[in-house]
């Protein structure tokens, strides 16, 4: 039997016991975020890079005072970027901020309503970042050809959306995710769309290497309980994938012997 310890998630040369990656947006406060992170079992946390708020700075703790970059892998994102140039600039700021840490989550958005990726700009930014030595985990559409191209550019993980960011609609096109997985040479992580535990399990049962989520936990009525549910859902989905599910049949297959009854058979 495979155990979690024998089945780590490998990203950019580091191994992780948890296949869940969570965000740090939309929480009530840093403490709720920290507690959700702990309960979720996640070892990687995404953060955004924004201007400091001049004037009301000193004294207030910052996110990274509450959630330690020594204990967790901090994954800075390029959320809010709509072109390759802004995304590359954001990654450079992040690398400086995190003392040379090279791992980034690239997302170049196309439009505010859907937050779908601008694939052309994403490819351009990915090329520039890989050339500059970044380890790029990239948010993209569920297009298998684009996913392949991002792998060929040298991204360390390709992260197709399951549904729009923050929508909670689940994995809308599992067949595309399957096609991406069939050709994958890097970890494929579903990023965006997960709404509840079963969505995370479905992603893992398809064979994804992990799931990245934010809103599903942060906007649950009880974020800590949902974080616990997601921890189990991702682990359960992974185990089910490794176990290999039974074939689907249209008709029944009796689980008890149909012979040896003490009454006449049908």
């Amino acid at each position: 039997m495979t155990r979690a310890a024998d089945d780590p998630l490998l990203i950019a040369g580091r191994s992780y016991q948890s296949r869940l990656i969570i965000g740090s947006g939309k929480y009530r406060d840093f403490e709720q975020n920290r507690a959700a992170l702990e309960v979720s079992g996640a070892e990687i946390l995404t953060v955004a890079i924004r201007r400091v708020n001049l004037g009301q700075q000193s004294g207030e703790p910052s996110l990274l005072d509450v959630i330690s970059p020594e204990r967790y892998t901090i994954l800075p994102n390029t959320a809010g970027c709509y072109n390759a140039g802004d995304a590359v600039r954001t990654c450079k700021m992040a690398r400086e901020l995190l003392d040379g840490h090279k791992l980034v989550k690239l997302e170049v958005l196309g439009d505010r309503k859907t937050l779908f990726p601008n694939v052309t700009e994403t490819l351009k930014a990915a090329r520039a970042l890989v050339a500059d030595g970044f380890d790029v985990m990239v948010y993209t559409s569920d297009d298998p050809l684009v996913a392949k191209e991002l792998e060929e550019i040298g991204c360390v993980s390709v992260m197709p959306l399951g549904a729009p960011i923050g929508s909670g609609l689940g994995i809308r096109n599992p067949y595309n995710i399957r096609m991406i997985l069939e050709n994958a040479t890097t970890p494929i992580i579903v990023d965006a769309g997960v709404g509840t535990a079963s969505d995370a399990s479905i992603a893992m049962e398809l064979g994804c290497a992990g799931v990245l989520m934010n809103t599903a936990i942060a906007e649950a009525r009880d974020p800590l309980l949902m974080a616990a549910a997601m921890n189990k859902a991702v682990a359960a989905g992974r185990e089910a994938f490794l176990a290999g599910r039974m074939p689907r049949r249209l008709y029944a297959s009796a689980s008890s012997p149909e012979t040896g009854t003490f009454f006449p058979p049908l």
């Binding site: 924004r50 201007r51 400091v52 901020l97 934010n214």
Partner: protein, 66 residues
Amino acid sequence: MELTVNGKTRQLAPPLSVAQLVAELGMADRRIALELNGEILPRSEFGQTLLAGGDTLEIVQAIGGG
């Protein structure tokens, strides 16, 4: 001299290093990254880098995001 910090102009008296400006803004101990005129300025160079009128700075931090 006039500096633009995070999109807002400020009047400050020269000579002023980046380290002095960062201290004046109350961010000396904070985990930040800084761009001077569009280029990353490593923290190790804050002390020796003097600001000039018209300089534009961006100072960022990590905040919650997905």
